[in-house]
Amino acid sequence: MVDFTLKIGGAAGQGVQTVAEMLSRVILRAGWYVFSIEDYQSRVRGGHTFTQIRFSDVPIFAAHKKIDLLVALNPETYELHRGEVVPEGIIIGMIPSGGDSASQEVAIDFEGIAEEIGNRVFANVVAVGSILAVLGFDFQLAEKYLETVFGRKGPEIVAKNQQALKRGKEEITGRLQPPFSFENLSSQFSSRYLMSGNEGLGLGALLAGCRFYSAYPMTPSTGIMNFLSSRAERYGIVVEQAEDEVAAINMAVGASFAGARAMTGTSGGGFCLMTEGLGLAAMTETPIVIVDAQRPGPSTGLPTRTSQGDLEFVLHASHEEFPRVVFAPSDAQDAVNKVIKAFNLSEKYQVPVIILSDQYLADSRFSYPDFKIREAPLAPQYLTTEKDYQRYLITENGISPRGIPGEGEGLVIADSDEHDEAGHLTEDLTIRVKMHQKRMNKLAAIRQEVGLPLQLSGKDLTLIGWGSTLGVLLEVREVLHQEGVEAGVLHFTELYPLPPRVGEILDRSPQPVVVEANFSGQFARFLEGEYRIPLKRRINKYDGRPFLVENLLEQIKGVI
């Protein structure tokens, strides 16, 4: 099995992400599996940023700590990361004079070369050329890539880029005993898929029939809006930048009331401002999907880092009680499916659904041999109303048939106050009790539709996790297996309401260890409360960085 990690680092604005994008795409098209993570600061230029790309001939869904190839777009990258490079590893790029790493080093001035070609913008392609050369990849795919990307800018630009690619390659030739020669795994373009979490969330909305997305920019959720905006005209989606998050969620609720599938996305601070609107959706029984892309807090915290710290907040957000659904996708493909399912449940039960993302999920890119879209969007559930239509009819299953204004003869009356069946505000306490029961009772039916956690057995211990940590848990399980430890995995992506039988599953899970990216073990506490079983072994990380395979392994060994 091939398993290679390269890290490209530089200052913000230098093009780390451009290099990574091109490289990932080329490696992917050569038939490899790719997994990448992004690390950046809350600034636009300068500072330090990196992308870490791992590729393999088997599917991979986690990041490693050890680096095989370090690409330094600036000298700072060398200083910061050379310690992570394995002894047999290679470092290329802006190496301060007389680099002292134990690894093989090739100093290359990407920008200098680019200037020779005519413009500093070519530096990124020069870097790609060098990297591909180090790896021993065939250059055809890269050339093709440049053609498609720069084709519409004219043949001259394409030629210049191809020249840059070549120059990058030449910097390596002869200067390095190339230890690698990764081949194309398939002779033609493969059908591997590469997708970031944010793209997955956006694509899910697209496929679910989302017609209205209103949001206020906030890292790390903004990518969802970028994605949907890029598709808005083609598919007829209104994407509106709201003046604040309060407007964003109220717009989404209004749009849904009028018949459009609606979503909004934000991060914790923005979600705070949406909590009143969340209750509005619940009380008016208006379907809505909300993405909360977590980052470390409290408050502004570390705006570009990752966290799983909002779980308890979204479980209880907004005053008083109402049914809701909370999902936390594990990866891009799961994100697509979870968002479709979110829209479906929201539409069917007329409840708000919250999707917990995080910076790690949002910005990471996942690759798949085949892309499985398991969920199908539900047909619209609103009816054509009759004259005497009652929006909040009390029915046996708690679901009042939903009408929308303009479709039928009836009037649709929705109210954030407690209301009667017609929708008019009431202070009748008997009606209040019935309405509150009607709403709350939906939870039992929803519970039947929630998927069970992923269960992999292991007699020695059970790794319990949720959301974006799936990949690292699976890989850690494998490593432990090789070391003779049989670790089970119990991983949740559908968090609330929990489906029936989870208690039993927990009961027969040996030595549970709950792994999550927050201080106090919110998911562990949640399970403890639901099932009254102690979950004292916990691994918590709250430095804003994702779990890396090696670190997590160590921590697990520390608690078992």
């Binding site: 992917l28 098209r29 373009f189 493969s190 059908s191 898929y193 590469l194 997708m195 697209l206 496929l207 029939g209 017609r211 209205f212 209103s214 808005a232 005209e233 598919y235 007829g236 989606i237 209104v238 709201a242 003046e243 604040d244 309060v246 407007a247 964003a248 109220n250 717009m251 989404a252 609720v253 209004g254 749009a255 009331f257 009028a258 018949g259 459009a260 599938r261 009143e276 609107g277 509005l280 008016t284 892309f371 969007p377 047909a379 619209p380 929308i404 204004p405 303009g406 003869e409 009836g410 009037l411 649709v412 009356i413 929705a414 109210d415 954030s416 106050d417 929708g423 008019h424 505000l425």
Partner: protein, 284 residues
């Protein structure tokens, strides 16, 4: 005068409240415009004024305090066939919801915003509202309101609202006419309605208003932004009513390419088979 917009819900306003005039004028203008209840969506916030939608026949979204405008914007956007009116109190629209007013003006959706401006918080029992006069006394401002009044018309004109008017709930005829024109207007329209609150506003009474209000002159030119601004500052012994400003501008619907490309109502086009087939290539 009965109308298809009448309904029979018990009205919870105080006897003599200026809200009744607004309700009557609104029903009248909807009838005059030849609208049917099922074509009209009333969106409101929370407060005494915000109860109005329940007192007529129409679709209703009675949402959160301060948040009627974004809801109305979205409803109109999703279904442009509907006539969408956001109405609520001065506290709701100018206080809690001030930011939405500011920014929705910039989008120019084809909705009408009606503000019951009683210069007081009615439902919460008499605190100063954004438009309360300086010095207005209440339980929580026993020393008198320390803030200068919010200037709804001036601010709307400053923001480039496409249609701005002030009316008085004591003049059914005038109010109905203004409302009718506001609703018919293609674009964002704001009607600030002076509305006596007989329970909590002992300053700005029917009489107080009646002694001061007058209509802008026949030859007043509502297309001049600067003079509209200048007239909007007039307040005190004489308070002008009427249409202060209008300017035709493309509506949100006209500007958004989604609507120029899609002809049916956007929400109806849910079933996009094969989106994934179209999308696939982007992820390879």
């Amino acid at each position: 005068m009965s109308s298809p917009f009448d309904n029979r819900l018990e009205i919870a306003w105080c006897p003599g409240c200026g809200n009744f005039g607004i309700l009557n004028a609104l029903k009248r203008s909807l009838v005059s415009l030849g609208l049917e209840p099922k074509q009209v969506v009333m969106v409101s916030g929370i407060g005494q004024a915000a109860k109005l939608p329940h007192y007529l026949q129409a679709h209703v979204f009675n949402g959160l305090h301060g948040r009627s405008i974004p809801v109305a914007f979205a409803i109109k956007t999703v279904n442009p066939n509907l006539t969408v009116i956001a109405e609520s109190g001065d506290g709701c629209m100018y206080g809690e919801g001030g930011n939405h007013l500011l920014h929705t003006i910039r989008r120019n959706p084809n909705i009408t915003v009606i503000v019951h401006d009683n210069q007081v918080y009615g439902l919460t029992k008499g605190q100063a509202s954004p438009t309360s006069d300086f010095g207005f006394r209440s339980k929580i401002q026993p020393w008198g309101n320390l803030s200068l009044p919010f200037q709804p018309l001036s601010v709307a004109i400053a923001q480039g609202a496409s249609w701005v008017a002030r009316a008085f709930s004591g003049d059914l005829e005038g109010l109905s006419k203004i409302m009718q024109e506001a609703i018919a207007w293609e674009g964002f329209s704001l009607v600030d309605v002076l509305q006596p609150c007989v329970s909590f506003n002992r300053v700005n009474t029917y009489q107080w208003y009646q002694e001061r209000v007058y209509y802008l002159e026949e030859d007043y030119d509502p297309t001049d932004r600067v003079s509209a601004f200048s007239r909007s500052l007039e307040w005190g012994d004489r308070i002008p009513l009427g249409i202060f400003y209008k300017e035709e501008k493309p509506t949100y619907q006209e500007k958004n390419p989604v609507f120029t490309q899609k002809k049916d109502l956007i929400y109806r086009e849910i079933e996009k088979k094969d989106i994934w087939e179209e999308e696939k290539s982007h992820f390879i």
